[in-house]
């Protein structure tokens, strides 16, 4: 699927600026940020994908982005980042409660990745979240009390790792 998709991009002269591809259950999803050659617009690209979509039963969506929308690091200097990892017995509400706390503390989720580990009768839930927040906030101070409460409430371990911006 990846080879067939990127073959179309190669043949049309598109450049892959960024990509994320993953399989969830039996579904495979590809997200791409593309730079198109001047001779091609997004409607024409979508047309080039039509045959592939029909042959392989794919859902393909092509959406034009402005240069700002495409740039991942647009709002650069005013932001800091951190990683949050959550590990514990699977139960309803883990994602909701943790993400609600992040939203309340002005943390924006950039990436969220969950996986259920362990045997079926005793599932362990693992979640890793990458967040961005305004750099003037002391994230440790803002998040830790709420995270400690959630650890007790949900019986999970939560680790907050701030991105130290020192260079080596």
């Amino acid at each position: 699927m990846v080879a067939r998709t990127t073959q179309v991009l190669f043949e049309t002269g598109c450049n892959i600026a960024d990509s994320s591809m993953t399989r969830l259950g039996g579904e495979f999803t590809v997200m791409l940020i593309l730079q198109l050659p001047l001779s091609l617009n997004s409607a024409a690209l979508a047309e080039r994908f039509q045959a592939l979509a029909e042959n392989m039963e794919l859902t393909i969506q092509v959406q034009p982005l402005s240069a700002e929308q495409a740039a991942a690091t647009s709002s650069a200097n005013s932001l800091q980042s951190a990683t949050l990892s959550v590990l514990g017995a699977d139960q309803p509400g883990i994602v909701y409660r943790v993400t609600q706390l992040l939203a309340d503390q002005q943390c924006n989720i950039i990436d969220l990745y969950t996986r259920v580990l362990g045997p079926a009768h005793q599932p362990i839930y693992s979640m890793v979240i990458e967040v961005e927040a305004p750099s003037e906030i002391d994230l440790q101070q803002h998040l830790q009390p709420g995270l400690t409460q959630l650890e007790a409430l949900l019986h999970v371990e939560i680790h907050l790792r701030l991105a130290d911006s020192s260079l080596m």
């Binding site: 690091t73 800091q80 790792r161 701030l162 020192s166 260079l167 080596m168």
Partner: protein, 169 residues
């Protein structure tokens, strides 16, 4: 004194195994040490530089955790480290590292929590220090440079442990 240019990935010189130093009275060596110290002090939030990062394939590095964003409560201040050898390590910890030679990324890296390291100072005198936490991490990161290794070599999962830097320094 001079501020040195830092090599960035994929410069192949970052992948070389650096050479031992035996001539401590060489004026070129003493000059290079001063230049590395000046370079470290001049770059914002820079806590360490290894000679190979400046294009010199020598087992030499400088460290100063006091230059960091959030300096640890206890550290040894400015260190000039030549021909280092880790004699002992204990515990492991995961922490986020940023590298001058990979300016666009930071990564979660597993390192020893505390180390005992033997090295020679700028006059060739042998020293042994116990380092902990962030300072131990910086030392291990810089020693990796002497062996031609980058922190990305120690990343377990590119999906969960490697991050694009938000604010390039």
């Amino acid at each position: 004194m001079a501020i040195l240019d830092i090599l960035t990935y994929p410069d192949s010189r970052l992948r070389e195994y650096a050479e031992e130093i035996d001539n401590f009275s060489s004026p070129e060596l003493q000059q290079l040490i001063d230049d590395l110290l000046e370079t470290m002090a001049a770059l914002p939030a820079c806590v360490g530089v290894a000679a190979p990062q400046a294009g010199y394939s020598l087992r030499l590095l400088v460290i100063d955790c006091g230059n960091g964003r959030k300096p640890p409560a206890q550290h040894h201040g400015q260190l000039v480290v030549i021909n280092p050898d880790i004699l002992h390590w204990s515990g492991t910890d995961i922490g986020r590292e940023g590298c001058l030679s990979l300016p666009d990324y930071t990564g979660n890296v597993v390192r020893a929590q505390s180390i005992r390291v033997r090295f020679q100072d700028r006059h060739g005198q042998e020293q042994t220090l116990e380092l902990e936490g962030f300072e131990a991490r910086v030392m291990q990161h810089e020693i990796d440079h002497l062996d031609g290794r980058l922190f990305t070599d120690r990343i377990v999962s590119r999906k969960t442990d490697l991050f694009q830097r938000k604010n390039r320094l």
